[in-house]
Subunit: 455 residues, 2 copies
């Protein structure tokens, strides 16, 4: 610690209990948080010094961004030193011609969106936690969200990374280039590595042309097979920016929480919020698609939003699900299968869950256009939190066995962190995991970068 | 060899001189080709057997696709066994809902484009060699081409890979998923690895919505600074699918070769072919942008294509450059810098080249919207081929020093292969190259997969 103070100022180290508990965890709630200190580097060079100090003193480091993760990837349980990027929050450069922004790892996602907007550009990675999450954390988890269908994941928008490896080397990966065919793209390895290979200190973010505006439709459907038919109908005729699904149970929780009326005069098993960029022809095209879907019966009911307020309302049905469920302390899972496998996967899993847990309420929603489902199981009132958590660990096994059967992913967008490392072999083969471990050793030979995460 | 024949049929091994010379090289012309045999596996399992045999017998393997590479990545110089994927050319599956196609590594790029078209979909990776290049090779080099600006590189369209590592392990990477946050994305490492980590045997290709049609404009401009202003003008107002630049000298060679008249009534230093998807508003928008550019003087002259024939003619000015130069046996280079650095980089390099080689004719063209320039130097008539090659090796040094000064890439899209490995350190740091070498060892501990390529 004394040596730490030789290159960090006093306001760059915190060791009080409140800070340890605050900075040592993410949005997960069931780990015992126990870091030894929180440090706040201001430059890449300070991060490098921290890493060299950690190697010297055999101290484990846990990177900490906006701490909005849901897999425990930023939780410090074993006296680690937490490296917060909160003070590395400057936007360093903007290049209009390149449509790129160079910034430090601690810049908030929403700040990037707003900066882009000020420049009449667009940062398309968008999700509920954007107001607190940091770009460094977005890179570490390859954040997704609601516009992946049109714009892809964080990976697609990162043209350069400055990183410090677990050996204390500073690397500049890809240098903001669009095209660069010079061997293995280590930038790609870092994206999604959850802080286990080293720490991202600067990011070159690629920005997009700003869309003119969006049109939003709300649809109702009988079952998931029909939902998928609707998806195909849209996708073949128009460029979707989002296609989100939720069940009647999910909608009911939201309607109750936000006290808004049912969107249609009767209820339906499944709902869809779909979005496209507004163009001269988008309204007509949407109406045509709606008519086609209603003729075949895939679409049971539907509305094209007529105003921004109505668009927001349609989106609220989907975006407020998590919040409206939080009172039920739900068991959450985030998995993905190929889009075409969604209906069979859901049927299988529903059968499994309802035979094992006939009285449990399961809420389904998700980025269905990406094959990404969020499964939320509500705690039955007669079950204590402890018993529920225990039961849910059994549910994990059932869910992930089903994911493995459908060649899916045990974590679509939240990462492996601590919560899913036990189940990594359900998605990756032993040979692949072994190669991953060797890559970890290559970048982090002293095992100081977020040890115990992923594997 | 006897053991090879135990698991390969007689039509799967060739050792005659003509075949050795044919299958042992790519489009580069100055290497002495010297493989020991050409083998044609038909399945992933046969590739695995080949790798295990190669480990056992300490034989180096060189993967061979459409052999259209320009960096010597598929050249066999040292008695290697060449593994041709020619017989692994089946499309195995198509999923309409996922918009994915599963195929073997030897499928021709253009066959994928056509298959997609038959399904009313679109495979957007497009370049001159598409009629011979194979998807496995496209993955190995992360092929780019003319639509990168809108659709990105091959990397963006690969949702799954089946590979055989240099240890003989079969891995299924990412399994066709859109979202999969389960640790390091080894698929990304393989993309662009030029066959040095193992061999791609199957590819899951993501397809796009089929664009309605394209509008093409031909523009003339005074200098590169203005070309860049035009680029910005377009990009802010319309979604570009391509933005290609070429110099007057390049145009003249094409006009002479294809015997078409000058597109404008006077000559200009630089020309642009820009393309957008046709929509209800694209024509009006293009006309507005042209007017704006002409008002400011950035655009000196311009035409919006009025027919498919005219679109093809505009594209021919750009696409036929390489062919029309081939009679001059040009020295070719393919480099990239950030888009914003293009004008300064070109000025610098022009100064350097014209002071060292005042009489040489240098032809500039490229995917300027990606910062990707193709530099072609024509052989002066009074210089023998041998002397020209020698001089060009000196030019390499000048070009790559300039690339390094501008933090660019020594290979934008052709790869490192044999031709650029000497210069890798101009783009990557020693620490990064060392990590790349360790990754190579992790996948290919016996150094049997395309040894001597990249580094």
């Amino acid at each position: 610690m004394t040596e730490l103070k030789s290159f960090l100022k006093s306001d760059q180290i915190l060791t009080d209990q409140a800070s340890l508990q605050n900075y040592g965890k993410d949005w997960t709630t069931y780990f015992d948080i126990n870091p030894s200190a929180i440090v706040f580097p201001r430059t890449t060079e300070e991060v490098q010094k921290l890493v060299l100090w950690a190697i010297e003193t055999k101290t484990a480091l846990v990177p900490s961004g906006g701490r909005t993760g849901l897999s425990g990837g930023a939780c410090a349980l074993n006296q680690e030193v937490v490296v917060s990027f909160e003070k590395m929050n400057r936007i360093l450069n903007f290049e209009d011609l390149d449509q790129t922004l160079l910034c430090e790892a601690g810049v908030i996602t929403e700040a990037i969106q707003k900066y882009a907007e000020d420049k009449n550009l667009y940062y398309p990675i968008d999700f509920a936690a954007k107001g607190s999450s940091q770009i460094g954390g977005n890179v570490a988890t390859n954040a997704g969200g609601i516009k992946v269908l049109r714009y892809g994941l964080t990976r697609n928008w990162i043209s350069g990374l400055k990183i410090v490896t677990g050996s204390g080397e500073i690397l500049e990966l890809n240098k903001g280039l669009i095209k660069n065919a010079t061997g293995y793209d280590l930038r790609q390895l870092f994206i999604g590595s959850e802080g286990t290979l080293g720490f991202v200190t600067e990011v070159t973010v690629q920005l997009a042309r700003r869309p003119q505006d969006f049109e939003v439709v709300l649809l109702a459907s009988e079952n998931l097979d029909e939902v998928m038919k609707i998806f195909t109908l849209f996708r073949k005729q128009i460029e979707l920016t989002a296609f989100e699904m939720f069940s009647r149970a999910a909608l009911e929780k939201v309607l109750h929480a936000q006290k808004t009326p049912d969107p249609f005069d009767q209820s339906y098993p499944f709902y869809i919020v779909a979005e496209v960029e507004k163009t001269a022809e988008s309204s007509d095209r949407l109406m045509q698609i709606l008519e086609q879907g209603m003729e075949t019966g895939s679409i049971q009911n539907g509305n094209v939003s007529q105003s921004k307020t109505q668009s927001s309302l349609f989106w609220s049905y989907r975006e407020n699900i998590s919040e409206s469920l939080s009172a039920f302390s739900p068991y959450k899972n985030d998995i993905a299968v190929q889009v075409s496998k969604v209906p069979d996967f859901v049927k299988d899993l529903q059968t499994i869950l309802s035979s094992s847990y006939p009285k449990w309420e399961v809420i389904w929603f998700g980025h269905i256009g990406d094959g990404n489902l969020h499964i939320n199981i509500l705690r039955p009132k007669d079950l204590s939190k402890e018993d529920f958590v225990k039961e849910c660990q059994k549910v994990d096994q059932l869910v992930f066995d089903c994911v493995a059967k459908f060649s899916g992913s045990i974590s679509a967008e939240h990462g492996v962190g601590l919560t899913k490392k036990k189940f990594l072999s359900k998605t990756k083969s032993p040979a692949e995991i072994e190669i991953m471990k060797q890559i970890k050793k290559t970048f982090d030979p002293h095992n100081i970068c977020n040890p115990g995460k992923i594997f």
